[in-house]
């Protein structure tokens, strides 16, 4: 690492202009993130053309801080309104909203903010110190390894099924099935598209997510709007978490940040996947699993630390190799291209001044997040004082705008509303939409990488065992499935007995 470039980057980022851009970007990110239906990727895409006239370093700093802000902002709506503000915050809903119902919204938001800050900071440091080293790791992940990751991810469905396992698997299976809609990668054949070219590219999972989470919540709010008395509006607890709580959550936050960085690194997976992985691991490592889903702060800290850690993680291959680690960083790379900087491994050397400015901007944006976030969160809590009926209308409006803005397509709005009605029925029937979303996110990854692996491995399943990474990940997946079956309990029985006797 060229230390002079690092210092030039730091000096660049500390200019008044850039600090203003970072603060502005973070605030904008918070705002966009907090709005259900509007996601970070979308905000980046919308802001991108504006930055074309900026100096490259300034423009990138603003985009990066927007990405950071939005990664936290999504949790605000998830906790207060039970509608994830961004796809990455979907996992936060599971424990964030129950906390808010118990009158602990302040605590949940505070934990979410600090977990986001630590996750983002750690990934920023990893980005600054180990980018070239970690960047080469990306090349180890080909289709075979990606398939193993997707399989491991799918096993989360089993543990997410709250209440009935059958309905959880049903929801997950339906998600996987819907993810097959669209053009087949290896043959180009459109499947289940009914000659509707808007479906050729498949169902955008963001569209489905908006419908499945936000619309049912809006409808439920309308249903209950005449029943006065909202718990969330009586927030009496403080936003700043206690030191002891943070200390207790630290192992969880560190683990989740690690997960976030690694998942961010791997092209094809991003914040939406990382948050579920982190949530699942937090649950696995927890002593009392039964509290998850009923308002466990560890279940808020984990996904939030992970989805902010993804920002730095996804930027690692982007700057080390010119390979985007997520859809959001692909847009950042586009910003570089448009500015006339050719993405490639020379970003850290030939364009070091711009790149290190970007890295420092990510780190600084996390500090900005803590400051701006605290004020913004305090303000946004007042949303709960607004009557439910109005909130429901606002959510629905944002859902429609959000679904349209993804691809500028009215078809997607209809699709979102369809998913919304289905999600409403699911919530009435007690079927969780979370497994379905995981199926929709990981299904295409799994299918595509499976087909590619089969081509590479000459139609032999042995190809998965030839890769050490894939073998380990698949074994983990197997273990994870067995853990949920009686088989595993029988295995552990003798050990437990011995423990009791000693």
């Amino acid at each position: 690492m060229d230390s002079s470039l690092v210092m030039i980057g730091l000096a660049n980022v500390l200019s008044v202009n850039n600090i203003a851009c970072i603060l502005g970007g973070t605030l904008l990110g918070l705002f966009v993130g907090a709005m259900p239906g509007l996601s970070a990727t979308m905000a980046l895409a919308l802001l991108l053309p504006l930055t074309f006239s900026f100096d490259p370093a300034t423009g990138l700093s603003m985009l990066a801080s927007l990405y950071v802000g939005a990664s936290y902002g999504g949790s605000i709506a998830a906790i207060l309104l039970r509608t994830p503000g961004t796809p990455s915050a979907a996992a936060t809903v599971l424990d964030g909203f129950p906390l808010s119902q118990q009158g602990k919204a302040g605590q949940a938001l505070g934990i979410s903010l600090f977990a986001s800050f630590f996750g983002g900071l750690m990934s920023g440091i990893a980005l600054l110190t180990a980018a070239p080293l970690l960047g080469t790791l990306v090349l180890e992940f080909g289709p075979v390894e990606l398939f193993a990751i997707a399989v491991l991810g799918i096993t989360i469905i089993g543990s997410l099924a709250q209440g009935s396992v059958i309905s959880g698997l049903l929801s997950g299976g339906l998600g996987l099935l819907l993810s097959t809609v669209g053009m087949d990668l290896t043959t180009g054949t459109p499947r289940m598209t009914f000659d509707q070219i808007n479906l050729f590219g498949g169902i955008d999972f963001t569209v489905a997510l908006i419908g499945l989470f936000s619309v049912p919540q809006a409808l439920t709010l309308i249903e209950n709007s005449h029943q006065g008395g909202k718990v969330a509006s009586r927030i009496t607890d403080r936003l700043m978490p206690r030191l002891a709580t943070l200390k207790q959550l630290m192992p969880n936050i560190l683990r989740s940040s690690g997960i976030g960085i690694v998942v961010g690194l791997i092209p094809g997976t991003g914040g939406d996947t990382a948050s579920w992985f982190a949530y699942n691991e937090a649950k696995r490592f927890s002593k009392d699993k039964s509290r998850f889903g009923k308002g466990e702060i560890a279940g808020v800290a984990a996904p939030e630390a992970a989805n902010n850690a993804v920002v730095g993680g996804a930027l690692i291959p982007t700057i080390a190799l010119g390979i985007p680690g997520s859809s959001s960083t692909a847009i950042l790379l586009g910003a570089l291209m448009v500015q006339g900087i050719l993405p490639g491994p020379n970003l850290l050397t030939d364009y070091g001044d711009v790149t290190y400015t970007l890295i420092w901007a990510v780190i600084l944006a996390n500090v900005a997040l803590l400051v701006v976030g605290l004020a913004f969160t305090k303000m946004s809590v007042s949303v709960t004082k607004i009557p439910d009926g109005f909130i429901a209308c606002a959510i629905l409006t944002l859902c429609i705008i959000g679904a349209f803005a993804i691809n500028n397509s009215l078809f997607d709005v209809g699709l979102m509303l369809g998913f919304g009605l289905f999600g409403y029925w699911m919530s009435k029937a007690g079927v969780s939409p979370a497994p379905m979303v995981i199926g929709l996110i990981l299904g295409p990854v799994m299918e595509t990488s499976f087909q590619q692996s089969m081509l590479i491995g000459n139609d032999s399943f042995g190809v998965f065992l030839e890769s050490p990474i894939a073998t380990v990940l698949l074994l983990l997946a197997l273990l994870s499935i067995l853990q949920a079956t009686p088989f595993f309990r029988w295995l552990r029985m003798p050990f437990k007995r011995r423990l009791k006797q000693s």
Binding site: L185, G188, D195, G201, L321, A330
Partner: protein, 326 residues
């Protein structure tokens, strides 16, 4: 006779006026604002072209360009809109990527537009095809790759940017020309295909120069051959396929087209603007900096280019479509 001569003079004067910058800036017949439909997400290759071309074009024509991104079905959503639902008064144009523009509807009956419903204006860049392998690959030359494919047909894995993309068809063209058979592995775009080659997950990637130039320069990838007419100034050591006795010239091109039946005057103004743009030294320098290989082909010549591509690719697809899908 006299009238004819007058007419002749009038035409020349009209052309002269329309060519003078002042007159052009004053009135583009398609209006003050031109919508550009983009079939892909912001920040992609099409957007990079738009950001390079449109600010300069805007000065020449005196109009504002408004980008409208409509990603989906590898551009088909935007191109269907252009062909079927856009006003043909010159106020709406689209960035047209070839051969994707034609292979879309050649391969799928559900995609109903075709290039006869468009007015090709100008091609701007052509990114030549290139064969790349990882830095530590055993294949040092393109002959090594051919030899490996000859020895064990159907096992050498070649990545491409997706079924229907230019690299997919280039692989087939090479197979047919050399009588070889590769294992074609489709990826979701040129980037992932190049990454897989870099990590040695596939034997080679058929890609485009603009996407991999940085990686080739820094030594992460080794270029074995380019599918260009002659060697590229940016990669002087890489042989062309033609040199190796394979007559395949291919690449991915991006240009601009309007709906069919736009006023002839609008068409002429747009074509003239692109011709002016092509001569701009600053534009040429910026394009080179972005590793964009300028290939400006306007009006009837662009039409001919599109028509030839359509018949060529239709022929290739007809010859292989029954084998795809195994």
């Amino acid at each position: 006779m006299y009238a004819k001569a007058l007419c002749h003079w009038l035409t020349i004067t009209a052309v002269a006026i329309s060519l003078s910058p002042l007159a052009q800036a004053a009135d583009y017949v398609g209006g003050d604002e031109v919508t550009v439909l983009q079939g892909f997400k912001p920040g992609g290759g099409s957007d990079a072209l738009a950001q390079l071309v449109q600010p300069r074009l805007s000065e020449i024509l005196g109009v504002d360009f408004v980008n409208e991104y409509m990603p989906g079905a590898t551009g088909a959503v935007a191109w269907t809109r252009l062909a079927k639902q856009s006003p043909n008064d010159g106020s709406t144009i689209s960035i047209t990527n070839t051969p994707m523009l034609m292979t879309n509807y050649i391969m799928n009956d559900a995609i109903t537009y075709n290039t006869d419903e468009m007015t090709p204006i100008a091609n701007v860049v052509t990114d030549p095809g290139i064969v790349v392998v990882s830095a530590d690959s055993p294949y040092q030359t393109i002959e090594d790759l051919f030899a490996a494919a000859e020895q064990s047909p159907g096992t050498v894995t070649i990545g491409n940017s997706g079924v229907g993309g230019d690299d997919f068809f280039t692989t087939i063209l090479l197979e047919q020309a050399k009588g070889l058979s590769f294992k074609k592995v489709p990826f979701q775009g040129d980037g992932p295909s190049a990454t897989a080659a870099m990590g040695g997950k596939i034997d080679a990637s058929f890609n485009n120069v603009g996407n991999v130039y940085g990686q080739v320069e820094s030594g992460n990838l080794r270029a074995l051959a380019v599918f260009a007419e002659k060697r590229l100034t940016s990669l002087p050591d890489v042989p062309t396929m033609k040199e190796k006795g394979v007559d395949v010239v291919a690449g991915s091109s991006r240009g601009y087209s309007a709906p069919a039946g736009i006023p002839d005057e609008a068409r002429q103004q747009l074509i003239a603007a692109f011709q002016t743009l092509a001569k701009d030294p600053d534009f040429q320098a910026q394009a080179e900096k972005r590793a964009m290989n300028l290939d400006v082909v306007t009006g009837d010549d662009y039409r001919a280019m599109i028509d030839k591509m359509e018949s060529d690719y239709r022929e290739i697809w007809d010859s292989v479509k029954d084998q795809i899908g195994r």
